[in-house]
């Protein structure tokens, strides 16, 4: 499976669900009294659905956010934006290293950026994610096996006699299909355990006067199907293990399930019965707390501030406003639908923007012609400076490249320049027109570089680069830029902290016109390392 599909799902689900979780955190506090715990739990259910369903619905607003030059049609716009921004952020960090004089750091950042863009880092991350899922699931399974084994070992007997009669009567009253109830010792507290065949665990030391309330509590867990909620929580945490908000939400939703259970327990109770029930909760909290989130069991215990607010909620009269509850549920459901609208609208959503055929960069046709300088050496100095090189120290020697006859160029003069063992050359036509310029030690000439999209994906930057090259062309060969219809990017590459871009000036007359080619070094310094305005074919 393509890792892009995993990223689409994970990124969209986590962004949308994280927003929902951040909304739920204050809402559950502010609206608990008004909308009730059932509505709060419904909100958490919608968050879980968004986290678990790899569903996507078309949305015209999404069309506008697909990044230019996202060269993989499978990546949806949101994931594409994240990818582009991550690559850019790494590149920016690299520039910080460069400015601090840390060339190695800069080079490393460039490699990482290119790796994220092309070289399989996303696939490696997808494997890490999968390994994380497997690890968390294994941990959950291990914790559950441990817990269940201890329960089996400590199980004493199934309840019987009058206690069982009372339990069955409670099940009838609460309209719940009875499940087995086992006395167990030791056990931290009463709980509903299991998913396929759930059963209730009752501490054998539960005082006879408290047994009824404890059983009602667990029966209400059964009625609420809280054992299924446990599975949802575990799945969300296992799949989105890297998102701390998901773990926070799982813990909060577990607390809310307990409060919802309390609501159901106390709904038919009078004030005295509520006091007794609150008393049971306080006593249960004095014991050890239940095993953590990873165990598929509903506990009864809650400590600290949460216990205080729980007891106050149990003792207080319900103030739920029905209209507010319905409004909350409807709005939450609409938000869920909106949270799934993450793919592009229309038929051409899968059309990829080709890297090799970017949008043309149109030239500004106006330019001033000028006379060539009479002194060729002065001009050489000027053009190398314009190309971004330091002419001082260059040692030119000339040769007449009589064996290389370009059509309409006459006899050519090739000037080689040597500086510290580095060779560069220029080729001039008879009238002084610059035909070629090349830094023969440019790293990209080896062909051993990695593709990059750092500059070519940004239209503004592309235009700036193009304008700068045209300015160079206007300076060295006045009038030549008018022959160009538009510029196209051929490639962008990076190696050892350098980034190059090669651009072709496409002639207006494509039948007979010549292509003008530039290869420019963009980082660490601007240098036109190759220029050719005439082919030698």
């Amino acid at each position: 499976m393509r890792s892009a599909l995993i990223y689409n799902f994970l990124i969209e689900a986590n962004i949308m669900a994280s927003i929902a979780i951040l909304l739920m955190i204050p809402l559950r506090k502010l609206l608990r009294k008004q909308v009730g715990n059932t509505a709060i739990c419904f909100g958490w259910l919608l968050v879980a659905i968004r986290l678990l369903c790899p569903l996507t619905l078309p949305n015209p607003l999404i069309n506008g956010i697909r990044p230019a030059y996202l060269d993989d049609a499978v990546i949806r716009p949101i994931a594409g934006q994240i990818k582009v921004r991550v690559v850019d952020a790494i590149g920016d960090l690299g520039r910080v290293f460069w400015q601090a004089g840390n060339r190695q750091g800069y080079s490393d950042m460039q490699k990482i950026a290119v790796g994220v863009d092309y070289n399989g880092y996303p696939a490696i991350l997808a494997w890490i994610w999968l390994a994380g899922c497997a690890l968390v699931l294994t941990w959950f399974v291990w914790k559950n096996v441990q817990f269940r084994t201890a329960l089996r070992r400590n199980q004493i007997e199934e309840i019987s006699g009058k206690l069982k009669e009372m339990y069955l009567q409670l099940c009838i009253e609460r309209k719940v299909k009875p499940v087995p109830v086992y006395f167990t010792d030791p056990v931290p507290g009463a709980c509903l355990v299991g998913v396929i065949k759930p059963y209730i665990v009752l501490p054998v030391i539960t005082a006879p006067q408290d047994v009824k309330n404890v059983l009602i509590h667990e029966i209400c867990h059964l009625k609420n199907r809280d054992y299924l909620w446990n599975i949802l929580r575990l799945l969300c945490c296992a799949i989105h293990w890297f998102n701390p908000l998901v773990w926070i939400a799982a813990t909060m939703s577990r607390t809310d399930s307990e409060l919802r259970c309390d609501d159901r327990v106390t709904a038919p109770m009078n004030e005295e019965e509520r006091k007794d029930y609150a008393n049971v909760l306080v006593l249960a909290s004095a014991r050890k707390s239940m095993p953590g989130l990873g165990v598929m069991a509903t506990g009864m215990t809650m400590t600290g501030k949460r216990l205080k607010s729980r007891v106050l909620t149990v003792l207080s009269e319900k103030q739920t406003k029905r209209w507010l509850t319905i409004t909350f549920a409807v709005l939450a459901f609409l938000c869920l639908i909106a949270a799934f609208c993450t793919s592009e609208w229309g038929q051409n959503i899968r059309q990829s923007i080709s890297y090799m055929n970017p949008n043309p960069i149109h030239l500004v046709p106006e330019h001033q012609e000028r006379q060539m300088p009479e002194n060729l050496q002065d001009w050489e100095k000027e053009l190398w400076t314009l190309a971004g090189y330091d002419y001082e120290g260059m040692a030119p020697y000339r040769s007449t490249a009589a064996d290389q006859q370009w059509e309409d160029a006459g006899s050519l003069t090739r000037v080689f320049y040597e500086h510290d063992g580095i060779m560069r050359y220029c080729t001039f036509a008879e009238d002084g027109t610059l035909l070629e310029l090349q830094d023969m030690d440019a790293l990209w000439l080896s062909g051993d570089y990695l593709s990059s999209l750092k500059y070519s994906r940004d239209e503004t930057v592309r235009q700036e680069i193009s304008d700068r090259l045209i300015a160079f062309l206007d300076s060295v060969n006045p009038g030549m830029s008018q022959t160009i219809d538009h510029m196209e990017i051929d490639w962008e590459g990076t190696q050892d902290g350098q980034i190059w871009m090669s651009l072709n000036g496409i002639p207006k007359d494509q039948e007979t016109g010549e292509w003008i080619t530039f290869t420019v070094c963009l980082e660490p310094e601007w240098q036109i390392q190759y220029f050719a305005c005439i082919s030698n074919g």
């Binding site: 007997e157 010792d185 054998v204 006879p208």
Partner: protein
């Protein structure tokens, strides 16, 4: 060997420390009003306690009789250590500090503690 008893088993031990030996029926009759435990519950707990060496069973007579194999002091020491480990990180001084701070110790209690410490030093 240190024998640890659970909260439920402690109730049976209390019963046997008060009066031993006792039959299963006698233990059930004693505990039933306060706990609601049936005979089967007591059987299971006693079986477990016999296996771990907390009680022994004498089946020479008509009815099986149970006697405690550990004294209240031995069991209390184990439980006190468990409590200290759980609540006071195993430090008795923290417990004493807590009791003094909370005003739960009377002057007599403090005097007794001092006498115990002095006796220990001698």
């Amino acid at each position: 060997m240190v024998v640890q008893v659970t909260e439920a088993e402690w109730k049976i031990m209390e019963c046997l420390w008060d009066h031993a030996p006792q039959t299963m029926g006698e233990i059930t009759a004693t505990l039933e009003p306060a706990t609601g435990w049936t005979r089967q519950t007591v059987i299971t707990l006693l079986k477990r306690m016999t296996e771990k060496g907390a009680v022994s069973m004498d089946d020479s007579g008509r009815a099986k009789k149970y006697v405690p194999l550990i004294t209240r002091e031995e069991a209390s020491t184990v439980e006190t250590h468990k409590f200290l480990d759980h609540v006071f990180k195993g430090k008795a001084s923290l417990l004493v500090n807590h009791l003094v701070d909370s005003g739960d110790l009377s002057a007599d209690d403090l005097q007794q503690i001092l006498d115990i410490i002095r006796g220990e030093k001698k």
